[in-house]
Structure formats: C-alpha cells, structure tokens
C-alpha cells in the first residue's frame, strides 16, 4: 500500500509533470518550427499589441459577441475554468505537498471554497455533457472522445472531493485521485485539452490579422 502510494506520489507524479510541461513545450516548439517551415509569413503578421488586444477582450466574460450570444455557457465556462485551475493550485493539501518536496509554498484558499469549486467543475462537466446531448449543433460534432475528455477532466475532481470527505474511508480514493489527476496532466498536451496552450496562440494570430491588417474587431 505505502509503496504504491510512494510510487504514485513519486515517480508517477514526476512522469505526469514531465509529460505535462515537456509535452506543452514540445507542442509549442514543434508549432513554431512548423510555422517557420511551411508558413513563415505568419511571423510577419504577428503583433503583440493586437494579440493582447484580442485575448484581453475575450477574457472578459460576456464581452465578445460570441460570449453574449451564448450567455449560459459563457457563465458556466468561466466559472468552470477558474475553478478548474484555482482549486488544484490553491488547495492547502497540494501546497503542503509542494512545501514538503521543494520548500515552495504560496497563498491558499479555504477548504470550503475549494470544495465548492470542485463541485462547480464536476457540475460544469455534467452541464457540458448534457449540452452535448441536447443541443443538436453540438451533438452533431460530438463523438466518444468529447465525452471521454469530460470524464478525464472531471475524474480528479470527483475523486478529490470523495477522498477529502473520506467516502469511502481509506487510501484508495486518494490514490485514485492522484492517478486520475496525473493522467489528466499527462494527457493535456496530447488531446484537444491542449487548447489551454494553443488557444492563446490561435487567438493571438487571428487577433493580429484582424488588428493590423483588417482593422476590425474580432470579438
């Protein structure tokens, strides 16, 4: 048991972070290399000012036309993504681990807040899944992989919530939480979840084109 825990908390965690950061770096570098190779013109049009202009406008909830036309989803996705990132980063029990391992620590959120956020993430995933089934235009472009991504995303939050509340008692749920979290981290660069990196870049590119060439808003 303890050796399994040690493995999951040690080498497996290492591997997950390696895949996550290494994978994202690899994605970034290979994308830049590909631009250089096959579409070098893109660099000529990238503009920091207009990249940021576009990204900032899209970071404000309900600001872009696309957000406003889908108000419910917009509300859900903002709360989802904030919780998705804030809960694991600012939960006390994770910060303690960082502190023990690397002597690094930072500000934390009260456990009750994280608890709510966790539920928010899970509920949002349920909402996304439901939306996928109910909205014809979303159902039309959905396949198993879309649902799997939702399961993959929700899993560490479901297990984390259960482990924290000790349902069922014992170490198994904690191990399941760790494994599913590590799996999610490791898979982000290799699934469409890599939008957490590439989404900024595609927005920056189109923002540059719209700003510097087309002189038009893209939000």
């Amino acid at each position: 048991m303890t050796s399994l825990y040690a493995f999951v908390a040690g080498p497996l965690a290492w591997a997950a972070f390696l895949f996550f950061f290494g994978g994202l770096c690899y994605r970034l570098l290979s994308m830049l290399r590909q631009v250089r190779q096959s579409e070098p013109f893109i660099f000529s049009y990238m503009s920091l000012r207009y990249s940021l202009r576009s990204i900032l406008h899209w970071l404000i909830p309900f600001f872009a036309m696309g957000w406003r036309r889908n108000p419910i989803l917009t509300g859900v996705t903002f709360i989802f993504h904030i919780s998705l990132i804030a809960a694991p980063v600012f939960i006390v029990s994770h910060v303690v681990l960082w502190d023990e391992a690397w002597n690094l620590s930072w500000w934390t959120l009260p456990d009750a807040v994280v608890d709510v956020m966790t539920l928010v993430v899970v509920a949002a995933c349920l909402f996304f899944a439901l939306r996928r089934v109910l909205r014809p235009e979303v159902r039309f472009v959905s396949d198993a992989s879309d649902y799997l991504l939702l399961v993959l995303t929700a899993a560490p939050f479901v297990t984390g919530f259960l482990a924290y509340h000790q349902w069922p008692a014992g170490p198994w749920m904690t191990i399941a939480h760790m494994v599913s979290g590590e799996l999610l981290l490791a898979l982000i660069p290799f699934t469409r979840l890599r939008h957490m990196l590439s989404g900024w870049l595609t927005r920056a590119y189109i923002g540059s084109e719209f700003g510097a060439v087309r002189h038009a808003r893209d939000w």
Partner: protein, 446 residues
C-alpha cells in the same frame, strides 16, 4: 408551394459530375494527402487540435441561422463533414463525399469569417473551407460556372472574357458619353506618373459601363490626377482565389500590380467591390511574397471618404430617401471601412436606418466567397440560405428605409436576389450612384 424547391443535396452541377466520373479512389486519396501534407502547416494543425467541438461558432453563420439551426450548416458542422473525415481516413473518401464537400465548401460557406468573432479560439473556419476548395480544384471538381470564370481569368486576365480591344473601346465609349454631359471630361489611358490608377472588375465594362462613366465624372469633378491602363491588369477581380487556383490568383494579381507599377502611380483606387479588395489587399499579394500590397490599395469607400472629408467633392443636395447600409464582409471584417462608410452615408443622406447586427458583425449577403459565381444551379439554395439577411432587410424596410446601399458588386447581386425573391421593396444602389446623383457638377454640364 407550387414550385418544388430542390434540396441542396439534389442540385446537379455538370462540371462537378463530369469531374467525379473521372476520379478514382487512388486519385482522390493522393490529391487530398498532397494538399494536407504539402500545403498546410501549423495553422491547419492548430485549428484541428484546438477546436473543442463546443459549437459556439454556430450562432455566427447565416446559413445555420437561416436553415432553422440545422447543424449541417454550422461552421464546425461543415468542418466535420469535410475536413475531419479527410484527415481521419487519410484521404480515403469516395466520390459521394467529394460531391458533398464541393457543395459545402463552395456553396454553403461565404468565407465571410464572421465565425472568427464567435469562436473563443479564433479558429478560422473560412481558411479550412479554402483548404477543401484547394483539394477540389486539384481534383478538377470546381462548380462549372466558377471554373469557367477561373478559365477567363487565366486566359484574359479578367473575369468576364473581355477582350483587350473591347476593354479600351468601352472606356472610350464611356468617355464619349460622359463628354456629352461634361465636355472636358477624360478617361486618361496609360497616363504614366498619374497619382492614381483606377481599377475595376470586369462586369463593369461588360454589363455596367455606366459605373465607369460615374467614376470618371467623380474623378473629374474632384480634380483627381488619375489613369486607367489600356493593357491587361485593369481588372482587380479574382475568382481563382475562390476556386483555390492560387497559381492563377498570383498571376492575375501580379498583372494588376504591374499595371500600376508600369504607370508609376502612387496608389490604386478600386471600385466598389469586396472580393477584389480581399484579393489585392490581403490574399493575392501574400502568394506573391508581399506582406503588404506593393502599391497602396484604396477601396472606393475610403476614396470617397477622403474626397468628401477634404472638400474635393461637394454635395449639392442630399439624397432625399431614407437609406440603409449593408456592410460588405470583405471591406468591413476585411478592411475596417465601416466607420468611413457611415461618414460617407451621412454626407450624402440625412436618414440612415441601421440594420442589426452591423459593422464587423454584419451578416454576409450570401453571395460572397464565390458562392454566387457558382451560378444558376445554386441560386435558390443560396437565397434560402440567407433568410436572416432577408429578415434584416424587412426590418429596415419596415422602419422606413427606401434605398439599400451596398458598396460591393457581389453584395449587390446577392442582395438583389434576396430582395427580389422576398418581394422586399428596396432600391439597391452603390455609393457612386448616389454621389454621382447628388454631387456638385461644373457649370455647363447637364
């Protein structure tokens, strides 16, 4: 309904059918893979990998909104029916698939880029549809009317098979006509060192020569130092850009820019056309290796704006009817000319009744992106695919609009079809129609 409208899937295009009958699965696969591997890069891959299949882009598309939210017409839905299977099956798709892909990429997407403003990641569905069109071009399966236009571009360097002598003859004829009204007026041919080269699309000399007359009158009254080339390069239009025949696109754009450099003008002013603006301002120059057009491009809207703003052109009496303004995608989302267009409207007319949404968020006329150039077989489907525009027009009409200003040739034709089909009583005009009608003219004219 007496007349049974064909479902889009029932439309037969002889050019497409002839091409499909020649295709083998091996050929299809080889072509798809050569384009996907050889001609796409990081951008294509990023769009494919980033799209989270959320469907947010659906709300953007006039086809989706007009077709009762049928998912087949949503932007990402079109990608699902074309690009995804090509990538997933590594190019192994059949001729039925290609037939469907032709219909979708060529007649159910205006390449209007409205969806860019609806996708949180800014995924450019129009770009993905042009990749599909490029594949279709390489398969030789472009819709017949559009392909014929591309043949014309390749053979004559203009869109309408206008022969070299017909072009010059038309200009001289319009000069003659205009001299009856303004005796000293000229259409200066090949005036090396003029400030401005004025370029048009071939439908003007072919069918709408009065637009050249009007432009000449405006140039004359405003005292502009201008010229038009007698040689090829006078046409700024570009359907090859929409068929995916980029080699011909490059050739005709080079011809256009070289006409301007041969005449050593400072800038090119172009008539009220949207797709041509896209081609010379943004797309054709890139294929040739120019990040920006080598000779500055001024669209007619910006040109009229300058003339009115600087007082070179004065309005004698304002246009009496209430107007509404259509924002052409290619000069608004493609060139940011919406505020200048409104300035020009306000100089000409007292009463502008806005359609909503407008400016960058306008709905396409449904004709753009080469869709109208696919010709009569697709006309009914095209009009049916843009009910939202008809609703906008109805709304503007019901709030009192009498005239619809559409500063783009394609929009003009597309809106004409919509207005005609639904019996919306709106008169469609170019800016130049109204400016010509309302401007101060020199004494002794008329």
């Amino acid at each position: 309904m007496n007349e049974r409208h064909k479902e889009p899937s029932e439309i037969m295009d002889d050019g497409v059918e002839a091409a499909l009958s020649r295709l083998t699965p091996e050929k299809i696969q080889a072509v798809i893979n050569s384009v996907l591997k050889g001609e796409t890069g990081a951008r294509f891959k990023a769009y494919m990998d980033t799209c989270i299949h959320c469907g947010l882009c659906s709300e953007a598309c006039q086809f989706f909104l007009s077709r009762d939210r049928d998912p087949h017409y949503s932007p990402v839905g079109k990608v699902k029916q074309t690009v995804w299977p090509m990538v997933k099956n590594k190019g192994r798709v059949d001729t039925d698939f290609i037939r469907r892909a032709v219909r979708i990429a060529h007649t159910e997407c205006n390449l209007c880029k409205r969806c860019v403003a609806f996708c949180p990641f800014g995924i450019d569905i129009a770009y993905l549809m042009t990749v599909v069109r490029r594949i279709i071009h390489k398969l030789g399966a472009t819709p017949l009317y559009l392909q014929d236009t591309a043949h014309s571009h390749a053979s004559t360097m203009n869109q309408m098979w206008v022969k070299e002598d017909e072009w010059i003859d038309t200009l001289q004829w319009q000069e003659d006509e205009a001299r009856a009204e303004i005796p000293s007026l000229r259409i200066p041919l090949d005036k090396e060192g003029a400030e401005i080269m004025y370029s048009v699309i071939a439908p003007e000399p072919k069918f709408q020569a009065q637009l050249i007359y009007q432009a000449a009158a405006i140039m004359h009254v405003a005292g502009v130092d201008w010229t038009m080339p007698s040689d090829i390069g006078w046409d700024n239009s570009d359907m090859a850009m929409f068929t995916g025949d980029y080699e011909i696109m490059g050739r005709i754009k080079r011809t256009h820019f070289e006409a301007a450099t041969r005449l050593r003008v400072k800038k090119i002013v172009m008539g009220e056309c949207g797709h041509a603006f896209r081609s010379v301002y943004d797309t054709g120059n890139r294929w040739l290796g120019w990040a920006q057009p080598p000779v500055p491009i001024v669209h007619a809207i910006a040109f009229y704006y300058d003339l009115l703003k600087t007082g070179k052109l004065r309005i004698a009496r304002k246009y009496s009817h209430p107007v509404t303004l259509h924002d052409p995608c290619n000069v608004v989302r493609g060139g940011g000319l919406h505020e200048k267009a409104r300035y020009v409207v306000h100089q000409l007319c007292d009463n502008l009744i806005e359609m909503h949404p407008n400016r960058e968020h306008n709905y396409c006329c449904g004709a753009g992106g080469g869709v109208i150039n696919c010709g009569p077989p697709y006309k009914n489907a095209r009009v049916a695919g843009n009910r939202v525009k008809a609703e906008q027009l109805f709304d503007a009409k019901s709030r009192g609009a009498h005239t619809l200003i559409a500063p783009c040739h394609n929009c003009h034709s597309g809106l004409h079809d919509i207005v005609h089909h639904h019996g919306i009583d709106l008169e469609i005009k170019f800016f130049s129609d109204i400016i010509y009608e309302c401007m101060e003219k020199p004494d002794g004219s008329e």
